[in-house]
């Protein structure tokens, strides 16, 4: 599963480090691209701005999306991804602190594939990361590969 790449959208360096650690310790060795705000996430996925001209055939197998992000927030990123033909079926897992009912409803309403609340207990977080990897990178049959937009 080395060829399958994960896009982690996370502005908090600690959370980034912990997420990466949880994935590694579960021996999920896939490449993880980290972007630190919503705007950067969109630029990466659409190959614009800072990522102008990047190899658009390399699309992530999974997007881990935080909701509370600088510049463009997570829900807005999700909305734009779902509005675009090329990224419409990209698996997006919301990974957030919030359990507000409103956020859950909006997230699923906009087409999130899953919604996970980051547990404070790192042991639980490890378990969540393990299951994420197993499900999305091993078990789940992703959409047929498309060319980038």
């Amino acid at each position: 599963m080395t060829d399958k790449m994960i896009l982690l959208v996370e502005d908090n360096r600690d959370d980034e480090a912990l997420t990466l650690r949880a994935l590694r310790r579960n021996r999920i060795t896939n490449e993880v691209i980290v972007v630190r705000d919503g705007a950067e996430a969109l630029e990466y996925l659409f190959g614009t701005g800072r990522y102008e001209g990047r190899d658009m055939t390399a699309m992530p197998e999974l997007v881990l999306l935080d909701l509370k992000l600088p510049k463009v927030d997570g829900l807005e990123v999700l909305r734009r991804l779902r509005a675009d033909q090329g990224t419409r079926s990209l698996p997006v897992v919301i990974l957030t602190s919030s359990t507000e009912e409103q956020d859950l409803l909006k997230g699923y309403g906009l087409g999130a594939n899953s919604y996970i609340r980051k547990p404070v207990d790192f042991d639980q977080f490890m378990e969540a990361a393990r299951q994420l990897g197993v499900y999305w990178l091993l078990l789940n049959q992703g959409p047929p590969k498309q060319r980038g937009p």
């Binding site: 600690d14 959370d15 404070v120």
Partner: protein, 646 residues
């Protein structure tokens, strides 16, 4: 009695008497001819003339007779005058047509019956009166009264003659004739009920009452006394001189008594009037005193909209002196822009009588003398004073109240804003406070994993404590969030089965707790009005709580039911567990207050605060009873009407 009925009845009586006499002559019945057999009889011509006069009265009495009927009545009246005049002429030997024997000549001649001179005179008087009956004018009125009173008095004289037994063989006129004339005079007087004697008699005035009381007595007393005198004299009790003296004395006594009695009754009426006036003055005085001391402005206006009364509070509120505004338009007290509407409203009310403002309380704008405007509350009443309509308004300056309302509205808006801010804060707490905790726990774990060989037992224990604390704090934050969510979520009200919810909660608890160890007693069929989601949260917390504190019991028993407690219908959850000290009972329902050390029973102390919040949102009340080591009972109600005790 209605005057028209009197007139009609009198006219009919005259016609009946006349017709009776004619029938009497025809069939030779004495009673019908003379009323008293042997006395003077009604001449047939008299009978005919009386019937004619009766018909004339019938035709002209009543206000809405058509003109032809009136003209016919006048023609008949003229005939009556003619008959009377011709017969009267024969007495002065002007001309002597054989009028008396025109009908039933043989029978009339046999008894020498004739149309009596008094009857002839009465026909002239009555006939003239009947001819004038439907004409108008002051002279007509005076003539009518004179003619009819003249006729009445002559008839009275004839009647008295009959009463006193004077020889009436050639006398003035027959008894039935006299009665018929009396009926005609009365009927004619009542045909014009609004003038003269009849108006006075019928009048609802003290004078009318006096006339009604005195007139019959003044007429009857001399008549009766005169009759007694004649009786006495005929019996030989006294001579003419003595009789006269006796008659005069008794008449004086009777009339003097009557006068005294009338004076007394006038005196009483006067006293009543004085009392009524006093009462009126008293009520007026009370109104003035009330109005003078009232805190609200009291202003009266007449139907032209001119101010007639302005109380001291009105002076204070509007800044005008009473003398400045009395007789000035009420619109002086309102801003110019409302004046036209006010005038239109007043005109509309006076025209249609339909009130818009009267009897209600409305909020308006008033204007003070200095031109400043202020909000007033007006209650308006209307009353009648004779033909005048009078309006009295009570006006209250509600500037302060308006300000208080504005302040209240502002506070409500602020509260709403504060609530929204609290929402935002809770969201931020949920999201941001957890981040650092994740770092603390996660990196503690990282140290434990990565630097395990550099840490001894003590170091590892320290990091475990750090992780424990972080997780506990995360739990607290979650509980706090749940609590705030309960307050913010919109509430539904529907019929909910508390028994079903409790049973569901118990089955869930049973899954996580060792089965069979706890005896559950859930009363069936308990219904309540409330929000099913919130009530489930409340029951979850209460039952969980009961289970938690019963853990030390060898035979735990937890009960849910309904009972009467503190005088109200209350639901309860009872356990036989650890219980609590009632001295600290008030701390039970406050968030983060715990009565047991954390080591003994786990929990953040938010559960009961959550329950209390749910109950309060339903308008109910929650309280607890317990004893250390003897279990606890939590009671709650779900509607305000079940809370007799503070």
């Amino acid at each position: 009695m209605k005057p028209l009925i009197v007139s009609t009845a009198c006219a009919s009586a005259a016609i009946a008497l006349g017709a009776g006499a004619l029938v009497g002559w025809w069939l030779d019945i004495e009673l019908l001819k003379s009323a008293i057999p042997g006395r003077v009889k009604m001449n047939p011509i008299t009978a005919l003339a009386l019937m004619t006069a009766g018909a004339a009265l019938l035709l002209s009495a009543g206000p809405d007779r058509p003109p032809p009927a009136r003209r016919l009545a006048q023609g008949l009246a003229a005939l009556v005058v003619l008959a009377g005049g011709v017969r009267l002429g024969t007495y002065f030997s002007v001309w002597a047509p054989p009028l008396d024997g025109l009908l039933f000549p043989a029978r009339v001649a046999a008894v020498g019956s004739r149309l009596a001179p008094l009857a002839a005179l009465n026909f002239v008087l009555t006939g003239l009166a009947l001819a004038l009956l439907r004409l108008e004018g002051r002279r007509v009125h005076a003539a009518l009264q004179t003619l009819l009173l003249g006729s009445g008095l002559t008839t009275l004289a004839a009647l008295l003659g009959h009463l006193y037994g004077a020889d009436m063989l050639r006398g003035p006129m027959a008894l039935n004739t006299s009665l018929a004339f009396l009926a005609l005079a009365t009927g004619a007087l009542f045909a014009r009920p609004d003038e003269g004697l009849v108006a006075l008699l019928r009048g609802n005035t003290p004078a009318g009452a006096l006339v009604r009381r005195l007139l019959p007595a003044v007429v009857l007393i001399p008549v009766v006394l005169g009759w007694l005198r004649v009786l006495g004299q005929n019996a030989g009790l006294y001579e003419t001189e003595g009789g006269s003296a006796l008659f005069v004395v008794t008449t004086i006594v009777a009339l003097a008594g009557l006068t005294w009695w009338s004076a007394r009754s006038i005196e009483r009426a006067e006293a009543r009037r004085r009392d009524a006036e006093g009462a009126l003055r008293g009520s007026e005085g009370r109104f003035r005193a009330l109005a003078a001391s009232a805190n609200d402005a009291i202003v009266s206006a007449d139907q032209l909209g001119l101010i007639t009364y302005f109380n001291p509070a009105a002076e204070r509120i509007f800044g005008y002196g009473a003398s400045e505004v009395e007789s000035r338009p009420i619109t002086t007290l309102m801003p110019d822009r409302y004046r036209d509407a006010h005038r239109a409203g007043l005109a509309r009310y006076l025209a249609t009588g339909e009130p818009h403002v009267i009897g209600r309380t409305v909020e308006l704008t008033g204007r003070k003398k200095d031109g400043s405007e202020f909000p007033v509350e007006l209650s308006l009443a209307s009353s009648r004073e004779g033909a005048q309509e009078l309006f009295t308004g009570i006006l209250r300056d509600i500037t302060d109240r308006k300000q208080a309302e504005d302040t209240l509205r502002r506070y409500a808006a602020q509260l709403e804003a504060a609530n929204a801010e609290l929402d935002a804060f809770a969201y931020s707490v949920s999201h941001d406070l957890r981040g650092p905790l994740r770092s603390i726990d996660g990196f503690s774990r990282a140290v434990l994993d990565d630097c395990a060989d550099q840490l001894d037992e003590t170091g590892r224990a320290h990091f475990d404590r750090i992780r424990d604390a972080a997780r506990r704090m995360a739990g607290l934050i979650d509980d706090l969030l749940d609590l705030s969510r309960l307050t913010r979520a919109p509430m539904k009200r529907e019929s909910v089965s508390l028994s079903a919810i409790a049973a569901a909660v118990v089955s869930e608890l049973g899954r996580s707790a060792p089965a069979g160890s706890v005896e559950w007693a859930i009363a069936p069929g308990l219904m309540a009005d409330g929000d099913p989601r919130l009530l489930r949260v409340a029951l979850e917390n209460l039952l969980e709580n009961a289970l938690k504190y019963s853990r030390g019991q060898p035979q735990p028993r937890i009960e849910f039911g309904r009972t009467v407690a503190n005088g109200s219908q209350a639901y309860y959850v009872r356990d036989n567990g650890a219980g609590f000290d009632m001295a600290y009972g008030d701390k039970l329902f406050k968030p983060f207050q715990r009565l047991h050390p954390a080591g003994e029973f786990e929990g953040s102390g938010v559960g009961l605060a959550t329950v209390a919040r749910v109950i309060r949102r339903h308008g109910g009340r929650i309280w607890a009873e317990g004893q250390v080591g003897r279990g606890a009972t939590f009671y709650f109600t779900l509607s305000p009407d079940q809370t007799p005790q503070p």
